[in-house]
């Protein structure tokens, strides 16, 4: 399916922009995006419900996967282990539509919204009568406090995704049910960013009472479809249905049981033995076992915006030399990389744009794979020759005099295989010696921060599936997700800034092409692949078919799911 999370924006702002553009073109004026001159507004939509005509109420959905949340503050957390068990208890201002795999943005706590003609003011109108689980009413003050927590966190509070809202100047309360975001510059993906599942709405009082740090608070009251019952550390979360949920149709389930099990065979075993109804992250090796019983189970596979690969320490010479990095980029055999991890984890071939961003990336990926040096499968001799030539130009003919590299690998099963693989590519084709050390996450992060590595193998997700966001995060100067120490390219940063502001699809595409050329020459990282998640669930589970899902962190509410008894 040629969809991506990027389409969410099109479904809301951009579709409307396009319609306005058509009108504008018909009138012989400039496009709406470049000279909009008109405000945009959403139209009220029907309440969300299961797609089936006869959903049944009742039953407990037993889910297994990563649920060992390191703490309880979704605004501060950045792992799926937080997102999955916590999101069912909360709502967001807008949300990704769970019925189309998260490809469109639909209303949530905000029933309607308007965008000013200059794209600098977003006004959201809240539903009336929404209550938190502790009985308090939802007001615009709660929305403001929640987004202030994300965008302008107080000292000591981290907000891993605040850069997505870098253009927000102020969040204003217009009246008790209206909240306004004032931007300093337009952002083409703003509604998409707002709808991210991480941006749940907490009570202002809860935030203030806990000095804006909810990491250890079990559990901050939300407005979501499920209410917290109990939690066993590292084991299980139990929730029951919110009988006062603002959407009277939802949820269908009486409750959720979310069991923490490590990624891979453990979740598959729990599904196959009937202990759970839904298994997150089956693992490539166990998917076939589940697929052998199509009368009982369904499997779904979906990509997430992520960059997995070798993060380069530019401050360690000669890795600061673009020719050296280009040479390394050219000798990677991405088919072998994919195959090496295949029994443990499925990945998509590593390119500058992840496969999950189908709207922006699909054409690029099709044009690049097996057409551009560095992306041939297997690696072509002429590309290897070019790599050797580049290394020679950098002063290291046949690798002579090249310092021994320290390849640091984060200790995760599928990553571990890639350390020796990269080592082999570098030695075989470029005669570069290296040592591989596999380290725990805490060590990887510590050494990366201190610069104690040459190439660090790890993976980093992005919040929004658009190059303006993920390129900025992975390769932008000073970004928290740019683990390529010392990597800074002012030209690329300027391009990312332009991308963030651009709303015209053609101009956006032109900028993306420029970005790809810049990245091909600069090579800030050695991208091995982007992550793919494989889920399996019982065929009794209806209403939340996650086929063609394009998100991981954003649609974990299970409110439209129901169990067919």
């Amino acid at each position: 399916m040629a969809y991506s999370r990027g389409m969410r924006v099109r479904s809301t702002l951009w579709i409307q922009v396009s319609l306005l553009a058509l009108v504008a073109i018909a009138c012989g004026t400039a496009t709406a995006a470049t000279n909009p001159g008109q405000a945009l507004s959403s139209t009220p939509t029907a309440m969300l419900r299961a797609p089936e005509s006869n959903p049944k109420y009742g039953g407990i959905l037993r889910w297994a996967g990563l649920a060992d949340a390191p703490f309880f503050d979704l605004h501060q957390c950045d792992t799926a282990a937080c997102a999955t068990p916590l999101e069912p208890m909360y709502d967001t201002l807008l949300r990704y539509n769970p019925l189309d795999g998260g490809k469109t943005v639909i209303p949530d706590l905000a029933s309607t919204w308007e965008v000013s003609s200059n794209g600098l003011t977003y006004t959201f109108h809240l539903r009336d009568g929404v209550t938190f689980h502790d009985g308090a009413s939802l007001t615009a003050e709660d929305v403001k406090a929640s987004f202030d927590h994300i965008i302008f966190p107080p000292p000591g509070i981290l907000s891993p995704r605040k850069s997505v809202f870098d253009a927000v100047k102020e969040v204003k309360v217009v009246d008790p049910l209206t909240v306004q975001f004032v931007l300093s510059a337009p952002r083409g993906f703003f509604l998409e960013a707002i709808a991210s599942g991480w941006n749940v709405i907490y009570r202002k009082k809860t935030l203030e009472d806990n000095h804006f740090d909810l990491k250890r608070l079990k559990i901050a009251p939300g407005t979501g479809p499920f209410i917290f019952d109990s939690y066993q550390p590292g084991q299980v979360w139990k929730m029951h249905k919110n009988p006062h949920y603002w959407n009277p149709e939802l949820p269908y389930l009486d409750g959720l049981e979310m069991h923490h099990l490590p990624y891979g065979p453990a979740t598959a075993a729990a599904l196959l033995t009937g202990q759970v109804d839904y298994a997150y992250g089956l693992g490539a090796d166990t998917r076939a076992d589940v697929q052998q019983q199509p009368d009982k189970f369904t499997t779904v596979t979906y990509g997430i915006p992520s960059a997995i690969g070798g993060y380069i320490n530019f401050t360690h010479q000669p890795l600061g030399d673009a020719r050296v990095r280009q040479a390394m980029h050219l000798v990677l055999d991405r088919c072998v990389i994919k195959k090496t991890a295949a029994t443990i984890r499925e990945i998509h071939y590593g390119m500058w744009m992840p496969s999950s961003d189908v709207v922006h990336a699909q054409a690029y990926r099709e044009a690049t794979w097996n057409h551009v040096p560095g992306y041939y499968c297997p690696t072509r001799p002429e590309d290897i020759a070019q790599a050797k030539d580049l290394l020679s130009q950098a002063g290291y003919p046949n690798g002579k005099g090249f310092p021994k590299l320290d390849i640091m690998v984060r200790n995760i099963n599928f990553l571990v295989a890639w350390g020796p693989l990269l080592q082999a590519f570098l030695k075989q084709h470029l005669n570069i010696d290296s040592s591989v050390r596999t380290v725990e996450t805490a060590v990887w992060s510590d050494d990366q921060t201190k610069g104690n590595y040459d190439i660090g193998i790890n993976g980093s997700p992005a919040t929004v599936n658009t190059p303006a966001e993920y390129w900025g995060k992975w390769y932008g100067t000073g970004s928290s997700g740019n683990w390529n120490r010392g990597a800074s390219n002012p030209q690329f940063d300027a391009l990312v800034d332009q991308l963030k502001m651009e709303t015209d699809p053609q101009k956006l595409n032109d900028l993306i092409q420029q970005g790809i050329k810049l990245l091909d020459g600069w090579v800030p990282a050695l991208v091995f692949g982007d992550a793919v998640i494989i889920d399996g669930f019982t065929n009794r589970l209806k209403g939340c078919d996650r086929k063609d899902r394009v998100t991981l962190f954003d649609d974990n509410r299970f409110d439209t799911c129901w169990l067919d008894k």
Binding site: P155, H259, A442
Partner: protein, 318 residues
């Protein structure tokens, strides 16, 4: 007797103090930043040096090590085991919830090791150099050579593929659902027990071979006592003392071996908690659990020593 117990407990104090010193300072020199679990990989990278300094101060990580150590000891002596670094879960509650499973696994493993190892060792000794002896010795060598976690993985995969069986999820206490609890601990207990039974069998065989050549055994046989009675009443009691001793040591090994076997069976015992805490560099949890293992080791060995009195009335402690 009481004086002996008191004296042994006093002797244990320096041992336990040594464990606290060792684990506390070793953890402090290991690489790895505990802030990663608090702020995530992306988050911790965006912390400025000033931010880090503030957070470290708030967590008390910037205090001199001797002060941190003294503070931990003080908390231990006052019964305060503290909380996990990120979520703030009570360490005492974690130990209570998970310790039951790990304790059951260890006890079950010792039982299995005795039930399998002791008869195998005795039969092996009684039928020295027979086919049965060779089979028993071969099996013990196999069990000694094969790591427990590997056997555990085979058992998990085998039961899943052959019987579509997997032990229940989560932590289930024996008083809540005895059968479900037994299903959780049976796999790791039996796997660990079989591995340990190899040590028991080999030791039982060698000690039994010595004992049955003693004069009092020969005398018993000469008096016409039945062979079964000779074995049970005369030889076994004397042969079992070294086995008891090694069982105490093995119990300690079982606790450490359970770390990997629990992982393989996905049992949420203390071993799993220890691995996770170590990966997260949750130093307080790691050092508390290691100390707990040390305490259990010391207490079990004391109990084994006291059991000598029951097994061999000739032994008296004063």
């Amino acid at each position: 007797m009481y004086q002996y117990v008191l004296r042994r407990l006093l002797y244990a104090l320096p041992t336990l103090l040594g464990i606290t010193l060792l684990i506390f300072f070793v953890l402090r020199i290991l690489p790895g930043d505990p802030l990663v679990i608090l702020y995530g990989e992306g988050g911790v990278g965006s912390l400025s040096d000033a931010d880090r300094a503030v957070i470290r101060h708030q967590l008390g990580f910037d205090r001199p090590l001797y002060q941190q150590y003294a503070s931990w000891l003080k908390d231990l002596l006052t019964g305060n085991l503290g909380h996990t670094l990120a979520r703030g879960d009570s360490v005492a509650e974690i130990i209570l919830a998970r310790g039951v499973l790990t304790g059951e696994i260890a006890v079950l493993a010792v039982l299995v090791s005795w039930l399998v190892g002791l008869p195998a060792g005795i039969l092996s000794a009684m039928r020295q150099n027979s086919a049965g002896d060779y089979v028993a010795r071969f099996c013990t060598i196999i069990f000694l050579a094969v790591p427990g976690f590997w056997v555990a993985m085979l058992v998990v995969i085998g039961t899943l593929t052959a019987f579509h069986y997997r032990p229940p999820l989560g932590i289930i206490a024996p008083w809540d659902d005895p059968l479900a609890n037994l299903k959780i601990v049976a796999g790791p207990g039996i796997v660990l027990g079989l591995g340990t039974s190899a040590y028991i069998a080999r030791l039982a065989r060698s000690t039994f071979l010595e004992v049955i050549r003693e004069d009092y055994v020969r005398t018993a046989r000469a008096k016409g006592v039945r062979e079964t009675m000779v074995v049970i009443h005369h030889a076994l009691r004397n042969a079992v003392l070294p086995v008891l001793t090694i069982s105490g040591v093995l119990f300690g090994f079982l606790l450490s071996a359970s770390v990997t076997v629990e992982q393989a069976f996905a049992v949420s015992g203390l071993g799993t908690a220890l691995v996770q805490a170590f990966q997260e560099r949750d130093l307080l949890v790691v050092q508390t659990l290691v100390l707990l293992y040390g305490v259990v080791f010391v207490v079990v060995n004391l109990l084994i020593d006291l059991a000598y009195v029951w097994v061999d009335p000739r032994i008296h402690y004063t």
